[in-house]
Amino acid sequence: MIVEKSDTMSVTTSEDVVRVRQKVRAQAVVLGFSLVDQTKIVTAASEIARNTVLHGGGGRMDMDTVRQSGRVGLRLVFSDKGPGIPDVARALVDGFSTGGGLGLGLSGSKRLSNEFDIKSTVGEGTTVTLVRWK
């Protein structure tokens, strides 16, 4: 897989969540994503960015363009050094929430992505990786 670095930004405030949406949208447009695919990846990014702010105590997003066997995709990596998630499997279940929300953030973003990975260590932080192929 060929990785081209596109952008990196700090994700610490609710205004940053809006900026994440705008950056991801702009890059998805550049890569020629369909309107539905743009909307899906931007929505997934919005959910994970909010988690980074609310649960991770802030962190960053790295946005890369990835190419593999003739396909092009957008890879988003959200990382924080927050408290971590004790039970990742449970956090991925629809309706599970510790933040007073609907509990759709993680599970919904997973459905909206083609590839989804989450690594979390209690006391060290969480990294969520999303890929959406064109």
């Binding site: 539905v36 909307t39 919005s46 929300g101 973003s109």
Partner: protein, 129 residues
């Protein structure tokens, strides 16, 4: 500056969300709207989201909350103008907005609000008879 305007047309409040809202702005709108329903004795609330490029779980929850709060305050809520790509994404996200009435555009939304308000009054009249 950081506020979504709420317009009053007859007994209906109209909100047209034209900016990409951060979460605090969405919460402020929820509060403003609830206060305005009471202050203006509105019977209907129409929220135009045709300019919104995404609705994530937070905005979705705000729409649900506004519909639930206005119901308790004796007003009906209709969300209008959702883009097709937004609707597709919302369902895949797992948010079906079951408590929220929707219409395709402002015209149809106003007609639906009228119909719901008249329907409520109609059923009340019948009960009183």
């Amino acid at each position: 500056m950081d506020q979504i305007p709420i317009l009053k047309i007859g007994d209906t409040l109209l909100v047209s969300i034209q900016v990409d809202m951060h979460d605090r702005l969405a919460l402020a709108l929820q509060d403003d709207l609830t206060a305005k329903i009471v202050a203006s004795r509105a019977r209907g609330v129409m929220i135009d989201i045709s300019a919104l490029e995404i609705v994530d779980s937070f905005i979705g929850r705000m729409l649900n909350n506004i519909a639930a709060m206005s119901r308790i305050l004796d007003a009906v809520t209709v969300v209008v103008g959702m883009r097709p790509a937004v609707a597709i994404t919302l369902v895949e996200l797992g948010l079906s907005l079951t408590g929220v009435k929707t219409a395709l555009n402002v015209d149809k939304g106003l007609a639906l609000i009228r119909q719901m308000i008249d329907g409520q009054e109609g059923s009340l009249d019948r009960r009183e008879e």
